[in-house]
């Protein structure tokens, strides 16, 4: 089981903020592919400029491994202040 989070405008595109996957794919890119097959608009947004991913609250590379128990978050360009 793994948790997937959509932050900022990705939440609006996906229509959800948090989801649980019983059997997560083995890599982040496989997860992106899975999400894109289910929802092409979300897939396009995830491939957008400046979108990063974090696994267990640490930013990771696009081909990072993921596994059961992980929390995977997709982060659009950030803007505080």
């Amino acid at each position: 089981m793994a948790k997937v989070l959509m932050l900022g405008r990705l939440r609006d595109v996906a229509g959800w903020r948090e989801r649980t996957l019983d059997t997560p794919p083995p890599t982040l890119s496989a997860l992106r592919d899975l999400l894109a097959r289910e929802d092409p608009a979300l897939g396009e947004a995830l491939a957008g400029k400046g979108v990063q991913a974090a696994v267990n609250k640490a930013v990771v590379r696009a081909d990072a491994a993921i596994g059961p128990g992980d929390e995977i978050a997709f982060l659009p360009p950030m803007s505080g202040g």
């Binding site: 900022g8 974090a54 609250k57 659009p76 803007s79 202040g81």
Partner: protein, 149 residues
């Protein structure tokens, strides 16, 4: 060094009073308060909502404070940042820097704001008469942060 990420409104003046208390070796304290404007580029803004990623957002800001402490001779830093719904006129962010000499305090606060604007894990949605829109940093924000590299 302190970081607070909260949904509750805060009073910038009360934060400045608390941050300044008992500083017998500081010569200067600089504060920045970022407010939610009623209009952006001429258009009315009814509401602002910030999304954060608790557990990820705080350490990212703490890392910015650590970077500021390494770059500038400051004695203490404070960042308070709201998320959730924010009404016009309310404060979004408060940054304070205390230093022996004023230049370092100005630079550290300025640096932290440039970093927060482009790299702090928040996502900002404005709701106005024309609907909703997600805001990303302006080109000028990216120019500002380049000054420090």
């Amino acid at each position: 060094m302190t970081v607070r990420v909260q949904t509750e409104p805060f009073d910038a003046g009360a934060l400045l009073t608390a941050f300044s208390a008992g500083r017998l070796t500081s010569g200067g304290i600089v504060s920045f308060t970022g407010l939610a404007r009623e209009t952006t580029d001429g258009a009315a803004v009814a509401n602002l909502e910030l999304d954060a990623y608790p557990g990820f957002t705080e350490p990212a800001i703490a890392a910015m404070e650590a970077e500021a402490l390494e770059r500038f001779p400051v004695q203490d830093l404070l960042v308070v940042h709201r998320y959730g719904p924010i009404r016009p006129g309310e404060a979004i962010v408060f940054v304070a820097a205390a230093a022996e000499h004023r230049r370092a305090a100005f630079e550290a606060a300025d640096f932290l704001m440039d970093y927060l604007k482009t790299r702090a894990p928040f996502w900002k949605k404005e709701t106005g008469p024309g609907g909703e829109r997600w805001i990303e940093p302006r080109p000028s924000d990216y120019d500002d942060v380049k000054r420090w590299s």
